[in-house]
Symmetry: C2
Subunit: 288 residues, 2 copies
């Protein structure tokens, strides 16, 4: 091969591929393949199996952020393993083009490329970035925005939302905002949480963390909306960080306002150590 990568890229004859893609989650029952349901993993696997690199189905498909039913992604990342993969950039473009012609318009693949075998879309990720969109317009979301914007029928105060959000940033045990799973840690580092009101009046929360446990972003948003409408004091969401179980008072915000914006990875030479560290920390049982 002309361009031997610095890291090994074959593992028992398999080549590891990273794909970057986007979807409108409205008509999917989330990421994970389920019998009888239309899921992102299911639709992608079907197309890759029929039109895979080298004409063979991929061995597995692991995603960075396993989104729930109705949640969207503008830049999701997955890895898969295949027997063969084009080395030539033109062949690669043709392959991605073929996938997009076969995929329904609510999924688009932007890029596919060979990565070191140490690249794990889920466990190598350094951090995930999400956005949550909500409008407090009295008559709800604009028709063209209704698929990814929650309508909130009471006025929301940007200042209250931001003040309560700032108190949540940092490394905490987010058990109050996590759906409990046995044996899994709920300690996460929340790196960013703030709100911006766009010129059209839509409020956008930007949320970044090393990782999120299940329903964590939507639970945080649910608690913050109670503050934004004046129903709870600014300190209330942060006070829940002292809880040792999930309180019944936190409402999980609806999924359709949530969009995965992107995922960050370390340089290639740190992939293996990052994945090792994440696996140990989170004991393989935790969500993204």
């Amino acid at each position: 091969m002309a361009d031997e990568p610095a890291m090994p890229d074959r593992d028992g004859g398999l080549v590891r591929i990273r794909i970057d893609f986007a979807y409108d989650g409205t008509d999917f029952s989330g990421w994970a393949k389920q019998p009888g349901r239309r899921t992102v993993q299911g639709v992608l696997t079907d197309v890759l199996a029929l039109h895979g690199p080298g004409g063979r189905p991929p061995v597995k498909l692991v995603v960075a952020g396993r989104t729930d039913t109705g949640v969207h992604a503008v830049n999701q990342v997955a890895h898969l393993e295949v027997v063969e993969f084009p080395d030539d950039a033109d062949d690669l473009d043709r392959l991605v083009g073929r996938w997009n012609r076969m995929l329904p318009p609510d999924i688009r693949v932007f890029a596919a490329r060979r990565v070191p075998v140490a690249f794990d879309a889920r466990f190598s990720a350094l951090r995930r970035h999400y956005a949550y969109r909500v409008t407090d317009h009295p008559f709800g979301a604009l028709p063209l925005q209704r698929r990814d914007t929650l309508g909130w029928f009471r006025p929301l105060d940007d200042g209250l939302l931001n003040a309560a959000s700032a108190l949540l940033v940092g490394e905490h045990d987010f058990v109050a905002f996590c759906r409990r799973r046995e044996g899994a840690t709920t300690i996460r580092e929340l790196q960013r949480l703030d709100w911006t009101r766009l010129p059209d009046g839509v409020l956008v929360a930007r949320v970044s963390a090393d990782a999120f446990c299940h329903s964590m972003v939507r639970s945080l948003i649910g608690a913050l909306l109670a503050v934004g409408e004046g129903r709870q004091p600014i300190e209330w969401p942060a006070s829940l960080l002292r809880a040792t179980t999930r309180p019944g008072t936190v409402t999980v915000a609806p999924p359709h306002g949530l969009t995965l914006l992107g995922v960050d990875y370390p340089p290639d030479d740190e992939l293996a150590s990052r994945a090792e560290r994440t696996r140990n920390l989170r004991q393989l049982q935790v969500d993204d």
Copy 2:
């Protein structure tokens, strides 16, 4: 009545109402009511008839811009005539709220208010503003943008698009860009036509005119895209203004990239003279 308007607002016992509303045109067969088709006028009329002000169906529903199948609106304007209408702001809010609860989520009414009888949503309009969205990303529109953004599979040059657009601005006979109707003028004043590339790569054309003949915006966009991809010279769209019939070489761009942004009206005391002038100029046969 406490707030007698300066202009008469009753005409044979009827009160004239202006409504401002938005829709996602994807699942509508355009504006105009047609048997057996789901249209914006049809859905609105059904809801207003059942839940009209004063419990009676409106007499008519006249729109500023009669959009085609698949075309969207973020601020469309219509007028209707009713026997009764709430004078109290709270009652009015309740009425609009009731409409929105009955309307499907792809139509939202923002406001309804009594206007002088001289207000004609179509003929009093001073100008209409449209946007056309197109992406030249090799794999088409992002899933969440695919309803209002055209995918163009060849690269588009912003400079060429803007240079060709500038030559079209002004008062011209746009017969080359109009679907012909007998006895109707095709002279229009194109007041704005320019392109901006957004940070996400989507190109947005802003198009404003006193009025547009049928399929005019989409024909202009179709001609300009041929310039933007380098298939026609910069001067070509403007050279068609010298044509006396519609040439076969102009392609009408697909409807789903087109959105009506808004409609301007003169002050109340100029409504009647504006409508009179428009009716005379356009002989009642012309599109918006």
